[in-house]
C-alpha cells in the first residue's frame, strides 16, 4: 500500500547519511513500529514515508503512485484524505479551543456541525471529551497528544504515521493511545509509528529497527 524503495536521505549541513537505501512496505490493516536509538533516522524515515520530506534518492509509492512526482495540489489531496502525519510536537493554536483546533483545518471539506460531533465522540473515546471547549494551555502533554491524534484521524485516512506518540507520557495514557491506534489498524487501515516505548511490542504487528550509521 505504502512502500519505499532505495530511499536515501542526507541532511545538507552535516552530510551524514541518515537513511541509506531503505526498502520498506506498509500493508493494509497493519500496525507497524520503527524503533532505534536517537539519531538512527526514525523521524526522518516517517517523514519521508508520509510524503512531507523529499528523499535525495529513491521513491515512496502510495498505491503505485510516486508521492514525490505529484503536483503540490495532488499531494495535498492525498494528505487530506489518505495519509495523515502526526508530528512529535503538539502544535495547537493557543487562542482557539481544542475543538476548534481539531476541526478548523477541515472546515472546507465537511460541515462544521458534523465535524464537531465526530471530533467530540473521538475525544470521548480517548477520555478527554470534557476538554473540547478548553484552551490548549489548559491541557497536559498527554491530553494534547490525544487531541492531536483525533485531529489526524478526523477524516478517516487510510494511513496514519505518528512520530513518538507516547514519548513523555505516563504508562496508562501511552497504552490508551497505542490501543486506539491498534484498533484503528484492525479496522482495515495502516498505522506506522516511531517510538522508544518497549510496550509497542504488545500492539505492533511488526517492528523495523534502524541503526545509526
Amino acid at each position: 500500500m505504502l512502500a519505499s524503495e532505495n530511499v536515501i536521505y542526507r541532511y545538507k549541513k552535516n552530510k551524514r547519511t541518515i537513511l541509506d537505501s531503505v526498502n520498506y512496505s506498509l500493508e493494509e490493516g497493519c500496525f507497524s513500529a520503527v524503533m532505534g536509538e536517537s539519531g538512527s533516522g526514525k523521524s526522518t524515515f516517517l517523514a519521508v514515508m508520509a510524503g512531507i520530506l523529499k528523499p535525495l534518492e529513491g521513491t515512496v509509492r502510495y498505491n503505485d503512485v510516486d508521492l514525490y512526482e505529484l503536483k503540490d495540489k495532488e499531494l495535498s489531496r492525498i494528505h487530506r484524505n489518505s495519509i495523515c502525519y502526526v508530528p512529535q510536537s503538539n502544535i495547537m493554536l493557543k487562542n482557539i479551543t481544542v475543538l476548534e483546533n481539531i476541526v478548523n483545518p477541515y472546515l472546507e471539506t465537511a460541515s462544521d456541525d458534523d465535524l464537531k460531533e465526530k471530533a467530540v465522540s473521538l475525544l470521548e473515546k480517548l477520555g478527554i471529551g470534557n476538554l473540547a471547549g478548553n484552551y490548549p494551555y489548559e491541557l497536559s502533554g498527554g491530553e494534547l497528544k490525544r487531541a492531536s491524534i483525533v485531529r489526524a484521524v478526523l477524516m478517516d485516512p487510510k494511513v496514519i504515521i505518528a512520530d513518538e506518540p507516547t514519548t513523555g507520557l505516563d504508562k496508562e495514557t501511552g497504552n490508551r493511545i497505542l490501543s486506539f491506534l491498534s484498533e484503528y489498524a484492525k479496522a482495515g487501515n495502516s498505522v506506522l509509528v516511531a517510538t522508544h516505548d518497549e510496550h509497542i511490542e504488545g500492539y505492533a504487528d511488526n517492528i523495523l529497527r534502524l541503526e545509526r550509521s
Binding site: 495535498s76 494528505h79 502544535i91 487562542n95
Partner: protein
C-alpha cells in the same frame, strides 16, 4: 463557503492577536497620514483655484497708504475700510489700454444675529462688475434693487432676509463658496449705499465723516487690453486721478499664495513620505514576525492536506483583512478630525481652504484603503513565499527542537 473562509481568517487573526493589533495600528496610522495629507492638500488646491478666479483683475487701485490693509482683506479676510474719492473710476476708465473698470466700496457692520461678529458690506456696480458676478450661484439676472442683497456662502439668513443696522434686507442670491473671508460678505448695489448709510446713522451706528459723505470708493478693479504694459497704464492713471492711490497686483498676491501653498504641500508631502517609509518598515517587521512565527502552523496545515497556494492565500487574506480594517479606521479617524477642523486649518495657514464634498471624501477613503492594502501585501509577500515553500517536516522539526 464564504462564511467558512471568514471564520478561518478571523481564527488566524485571533491566534496572533497582539501582532494583528500592531498591524491594525500601523495601517491605521499610515492611512490617517495619507488621508489627512491628501484632504488638506486638495482643499488648499481648491481654495487656491477659487482665489485665482476671485482675484480676477489685472490691477487694483486702493487708497494711498492702504495697500497692506487691502491685501489683508483679500487674502486673510480681515475686515477693512479705506476710501478715496468716488470719481476715480470715471477718471481712469477711458485710458488707452484699459479694457474694463469696476469699483467697490467697503463698510463694516455688526450683524444683529451675533453681536460680536462683523460682516463686510461691499457696494458694487452691477453694470460694470466683472468680479462679483461669476460667483453668484443662482442665475440672478435682474438689477440689484435697493434693499436687496447678495450674500456670501457663510452668511446665515432667516426667512430669506438679513438684519443690518437694525433693518431687514432681502437676500436675492447667494455666492458660491470661495474658501476665503469673502464668504462672510454682503453685497449691495452701489445705488443702495446712501440709504444704507442713512439707516446706519438712524441706528446711531458709528460712521466716520468720510463714510457719511457717501461719495467714496474703496477700490477700483482694472483689466488691461492685450499687449499693454501695466506700468504705462498705472502712470496714466496717476496722471488722470492724481497721486491718491496705491496699486495692488492680485496676480502677484496669488503667486505669493501659490508659493506658500507649495511650501506647505512640500512639507506635508515630506512628512507623509518619511512617515510612510518608516511605517512601511514597521509593516515589514511586523509581517516578518507574524508570518515567520506561523511557520509551524503552516507546516502542520500543509501536512493535514492544505496546498502551498491555499496556505499563501490564507496568509495573504489575513494580512489583507487586517490592513483593510486598520486602513478604514485610520481614514475615518482622519475624516473625523480634518473635515470638521477644515475652517480652522485654513485660518491657521492663512490660506484659502475649500473642504471636500462627501463623494470626494468617500472616493479618497477608497483610494487610500486600496493603496494601504497593496502596501501591506507587498510588505508581507516575501515572507509568505518563504514560509509556504519550506519542507513541512523541517519546519515541524524546528518546533520540536
Amino acid at each position: 463557503m464564504i462564511k467558512t473562509k471568514i471564520r478561518s481568517i478571523l481564527s488566524g487573526i485571533r491566534s496572533r492577536i497582539f501582532y494583528s493589533t500592531c498591524l491594525v495600528i500601523t495601517t491605521a496610522v499610515l492611512s490617517f497620514m495619507l488621508f489627512s495629507g491628501s484632504i488638506i492638500k486638495s482643499s488648499l488646491d481648491k481654495g487656491m483655484d477659487n482665489m485665482d478666479r476671485r482675484l480676477g483683475s489685472d490691477i487694483m487701485l486702493v487708497p494711498k497708504g492702504s495697500r497692506e490693509e487691502a491685501e489683508n482683506l483679500l487674502l486673510e479676510g480681515q475686515r477693512g475700510t479705506f476710501y478715496f474719492d468716488g470719481s476715480v473710476d470715471d477718471k481712469v476708465k477711458d485710458i488707452e489700454g484699459i479694457s474694463e473698470v469696476t469699483s467697490q466700496c467697503f463698510l463694516k457692520s455688526l450683524s444683529a444675529d451675533c453681536c460680536s461678529s462683523e460682516v463686510e458690506l461691499v457696494f458694487y456696480d452691477p453694470d460694470t462688475d466683472f468680479v462679483v458676478g461669476p460667483w453668484i450661484e443662482t442665475n440672478y439676472k435682474s438689477d440689484l434693487k435697493k434693499d436687496n442683497v447678495i450674500v456670501g456662502s457663510d452668511i446665515v439668513t432667516e426667512n430669506g432676509t438679513i438684519k443690518l443696522f437694525g433693518k431687514d434686507y432681502e437676500v436675492v442670491s447667494q455666492m458660491a463658496k470661495t474658501g476665503t473671508a469673502l464668504d462672510s460678505s454682503v453685497y449691495f448695489s452701489d445705488d443702495s449705499m446712501a440709504s444704507v448709510i442713512a439707516d446706519a446713522e438712524e441706528k446711531n451706528s458709528f460712521l466716520t465723516e468720510e463714510q457719511k459723505d457717501g461719495d467714496i470708493l474703496s477700490s477700483v478693479f482694472i483689466n488691461l487690453k492685450d499687449g499693454y504694459n501695466e506700468d504705462d497704464v498705472i502712470r496714466e492713471c496717476h496722471a488722470k486721478a492724481g497721486d491718491i492711490f496705491d496699486v495692488v497686483y492680485p496676480k502677484q498676491l496669488n503667486e505669493s499664495l501659490s508659493d506658500n501653498l507649495l511650501r506647505i504641500t512640500d512639507i506635508v508631502g515630506a512628512v507623509v513620505l518619511i512617515g510612510g517609509i518608516l511605517l512601511f518598515g514597521i509593516l515589514v517587521l511586523i509581517n516578518s514576525v507574524i508570518i515567520e512565527s506561523r511557520k509551524q502552523e503552516v507546516a502542520l496545515l500543509r501536512v493535514l492536506g492544505n496546498s502551498k497556494s491555499k496556505m499563501a492565500l490564507m496568509l495573504i487574506s489575513e494580512t489583507g483583512a487586517v490592513s483593510l480594517f486598520g486602513s478604514l479606521v485610520g481614514c475615518l479617524l482622519g475624516a473625523l478630525i480634518v473635515i470638521p477642523f477644515g475652517r480652522y486649518i485654513g485660518m491657521s495657514l492663512s490660506m484659502p481652504y475649500l473642504g471636500p464634498s462627501f463623494i470626494g471624501a468617500s472616493v479618497q477613503v477608497i483610494v487610500i484603503m486600496a493603496i494601504v492594502f497593496l502596501v501591506a501585501l507587498v510588505s508581507s509577500i516575501l515572507f509568505v513565499f518563504h514560509v509556504t515553500g519550506i519542507e513541512p517536516y523541517l519546519a515541524l522539526k524546528k518546533e520540536a527542537e
